[in-house]
Symmetry: C2
Subunit: 225 residues, 2 copies
């Protein structure tokens, strides 16, 4: 499997291309991913903004089979409930079925994932009002997105999930986290199994409003020309 | 001021360089930013992952002076309280003082910002338990980070703030948002005023743990060599 030196050049990928081709890759090879590759992803993740530039992040890199197995169990517990809750929608939508199949595959093979990065934030979640929570998570998910984009550029498969965190108490115990460190996202990483198609996104015009909700903004020219 | 065609080539910037040089830029010129540039940033923002690929985003592009003034008022209200609460820490830390000066500058000049993008998420915040909230915000802040990285690559200054959202009710009223659309982040965008120095980040080794919290992972070689 490639070492960091062999994949490093991927980080020269144009930023737009990385964003346009990023997709959740859940079917991963069990082959090892070296520390340098993982640490470089985390280093780039740390370029993300945070409130007051506090960088309130802690990254737990899980390789140990026992810890991985515990995360896998938590993941399967949440997934078995979540899948059943979504059963009705899943049956109707082919697009969702493909996602569900991939999540199921990952749940079944979680122990084989070479490295799982758990992104945590210092301080407990402020249980005050929506604004405080948005501010709290706004200092953690940008770093997760950088981690995923860096992984994409290096050729690693990855995805963002929160399923193994359904119980903060059990997740904290599994990872030995103190009470004031909150696990927020789980990113399984590995070399992809098989090829991956393009991503599908809604047209930008559908989700953009001018000044007030519902007032459509359309572009005069093709912005890409 | 440059049109999209003139800055488009910036999106070829290597993804690693964009992450390493991204920083909050709050002192902005009042010069216009064209729709194509803003829409391209949003289009790239939409490359980000979301739970079940639901893409639950709505982007309100604010250019109207009246709406901008209302956001500016909300911003100043939150900032005047927030600044006072942090007074003690600000006085001691030069690093924080510089940030505070920039936030103050932006608060004073908010009405002059050419374009303010408010990133919203469909569905109200699930007030259940931390897991549901992490999952909720995990589908919105990755798109905000893409937006900021795209802005960086195009040479736009931007920052992520939640200050104008301290009151969901007032923010919703200002933007005409229905009850089931939640504003999560505010991104003022404009061409930067003056030059900007490098970013400062903690060493990756300080925030990385192996398998369990507190067990340090250090890299054998310099991963960048």
């Amino acid at each position: 499997m490639p070492s960091y030196a062999e994949v490093e050049a991927g980080l020269q990928m144009p930023v737009a291309l990385a964003m346009e081709t990023q997709r959740a890759i859940r079917r991963l090879l069990p082959d090892p991913v070296d520390d340098d590759t993982v640490l470089r992803c985390i280093e780039l993740a740390m370029g993300a903004p945070s409130g007051g530039n506090a960088q309130p992040w802690e990254f737990v890199v899980v390789r140990d089979p026992t810890v991985k197995h515990q995360l896998a169990r938590l993941n399967r517990q949440a997934w078995s409930v979540y899948r059943r809750l979504g059963w009705f929608r899943i049956r109707r939508e082919a697009r969702l079925r493909r996602i569900v199949d991939a999540v199921q595959w990952q749940a079944d093979h979680f122990e084989e994932i070479p490295v799982v990065v758990v992104v945590c934030r210092r301080r407990p979640v402020p249980r005050l009002w929506p604004w405080a929570e948005a501010t709290y998570y706004g200092s953690v998910f940008p770093t997760v997105q950088n981690l995923l984009l860096a992984a994409r550029a290096l050729g690693l498969g990855g995805t963002l999930t929160t399923l193994p965190l359904w119980s903060m108490m059990l997740a904290r115990r599994t990872l030995g986290l103190p009470w004031n460190v909150t696990p927020c996202a789980v990113v399984p990483l590995g070399w992809p199994r098989g090829a991956h198609g393009p991503t599908s996104r809604r047209p930008v015009e559908e989700v953009v409003h001018l000044d007030r909700f519902g007032r459509r903004l359309t572009r005069a020219t093709d912005g890409r020309s």
